[in-house]
Structures are given as C-alpha cells and as structure tokens.
Amino acid sequence: MHTNDYLQARAGAKNRYKEDYAAVGTAFALAIVSVADQIHPEFLQLLWVLADKQTHNYYALITEEGEISSEAFTWPGSRARTFSFNKNSIGKAIAYATATRLHLSMHSTAPSSRRQAGQPIPSAECLMHGAAHASQRAAPCPSPPRPAVDADVGTPSVAPSAHANRAGASGEVDVVDDGTHAAGGVAASEWLAATLGGDDVTAGGTGTRNSAYDDAQSDDDDDEPVTVLEAILGRQVGQREDTACDEDGIDVSVGVDVDAVVGVGVHGQGVNLGVALGVGLGVGSPPLTSLDS
C-alpha cells in the first residue's frame, strides 16, 4: 500500500464524522499528513482557502477593494505565494514532528528498570533499543557500554523550528525537557576513561605513561554532536587519533579508532534503524631495536 493510499484510507475512516458534525451545524475537515511530507488533498484545499482569505485581507489593508482583482492577485501573484508559504510551513512542521518522534523513539524506549536516578542509559543501548522497537524486532541482549556516536552530547538533537508565522505561539515542543536525553549521553572519551579505570595506561617498563583519556580528549571531533536530522540522513563518523610519545628513548604509540554508522530509512509506513558501532583500542611499543640507542 502506498502512502497516498494510506492517506486516502485514513480519510475514508474519518469522513464518517462529517455527518455527526453536520447535525450540529458544524462542518468537518480533515488535516491528514504523512511522515513523508505528503499532505492530503482535502488539507491542501483548506490551506488554499486560508491563503485566499489571507491575501484578501492583505489587499484590503493596502489597496482599495476594487483593485483586489488585479493581475497581482493571480498566479504568480501573492495568493499563490501565500499558499506556498503556508504549505511549506506545514511541511516544516511535519519534518520537525517526525524528527521529534524519531528522537523520542530512540531515547525513551529503554526499560524502565534502567531509568532510575544515578543510572544513566548509554547512548548505544538507547539506540539499540530504539532500533529494535522501531523495526519490531526483539531487543538485543544487554551489552556493556560502548562509546556511542555522541548523538546526544551538548546540544539538543532537534533544532527548534522557525516558522515565520508562529510568532509567540505556545506549545513549542522541547525534546529535552524530560531528561531522558541527557541521561543517555556517554561520550567516547568518558567510556574510555571508565573502561580503563580512569588511570593512565602504562606501556613499557621504564615509567613511560600515556593517558588514553587524554588521547581521546585530544580529538576535536568529540565535541561535535550528531543531530537526529543528521541521523535521518545517515552519517558516518570516523575518527582516529594516534599519539606517539618518546620519553627516555622509548617510543610508545596509542591508537584509538571509533567508527560509528547510523542509518535511518523510512519506507512507507515503517521505519528501519540501523546502528553499527565499532571500537578499537591499541596500545603497543615499537620493537626493542629502538632501545639500542
């Protein structure tokens, strides 16, 4: 079933309310939209009626009433532009609503037993549960916390929409007000520090120490959040930081690889989420030949 068919099916199911409202002297209209930014034709007609009245009101303010039926009123005049503006406003609202829905689907579906105070949910686990919930698959087995994509570190994942005609509108949706967003944030650097006990990694036997925490912190990409919209479009984050330390004649190299791929696909009525995370940490020293000097 295509999305248009689904829109039509929903419209058919809702149209029975028209008779009920007609009995009380009220007209009934549907405003059906899809997550693919498709708008039902009946809703488009309503938007056209609103645009027509807006244009009439505008010309009534700036010109005489007899001049309204001028050429500027018709295509490509202001009425079409107003209609397009209204339609785009609805489209942006749909996109924002879809992003909000996707964000909350990923960050609010963790088991309630884990959502206690002092027990933050790793982002990777949130993404896993969100993906499993979205694709109607069984939840994966709990895995140890792994460095996530830092999808929720720093800034809200969904930027507030900027509808020009929503000035002062109440009910702005704040996607981070429930705290679940911040609860799931575990940066890769924090995970590395926790896994390694927060201590420095000692490599070699002569007191040469190299901090893996500092190594991860030195990567500038750690501060860059991945927004939900970027997750929708799909994004591959790859970072590699190699640090070489030469102290007392001993070369020590520490490499950290963090590769993450987040992909989201919307196919008709379903949403598939795919998350792939990979982490590699290597600490080693060069051959002893370097000690000869």
């Binding site: 409202y21 002297g25 009220t26 609805i90 005609n165």
Partner: protein
Amino acid sequence: MGATRGHNHVMDVLVQLARNTGYSVRVNHKVSTTAAASNKQGDVKLVNFGLDGFNNLVIDNFNLLRSCW
C-alpha cells in the same frame, strides 16, 4: 509520547495559520468531551468560518506519526 508531541506541533502550526488568517480558533489538545455522536471531537475549531449552512469548521488533524511506530 513523541507521536502526541508531533501531532500537537503540527496542530499548533495549523492553528497559527488560521489565526493569521483572521479566524477565531479554539484548540482542543485533549479530547475529553464529545460534540458528535461517535464520541469524537476535532482538534481545531474555526468559529464563524463562513460556509453555507454551517457556522463553524472543525478540523481533525491526523498525522501518520501515530501509526508508523
């Protein structure tokens, strides 16, 4: 929760469009009472919309966010 928020956001934009048009709008975020025999009440009510035979226009906002996930 996300579907309701998304629904309310689209509805808020629609309400603002109607208000900018000049209509008096009543918003029903929470469906609690009924205006129709089928126990269904719309989301947005445009008072004195101007249709022949009808005083008001009730708009029921439905987005597929609620059915996709």
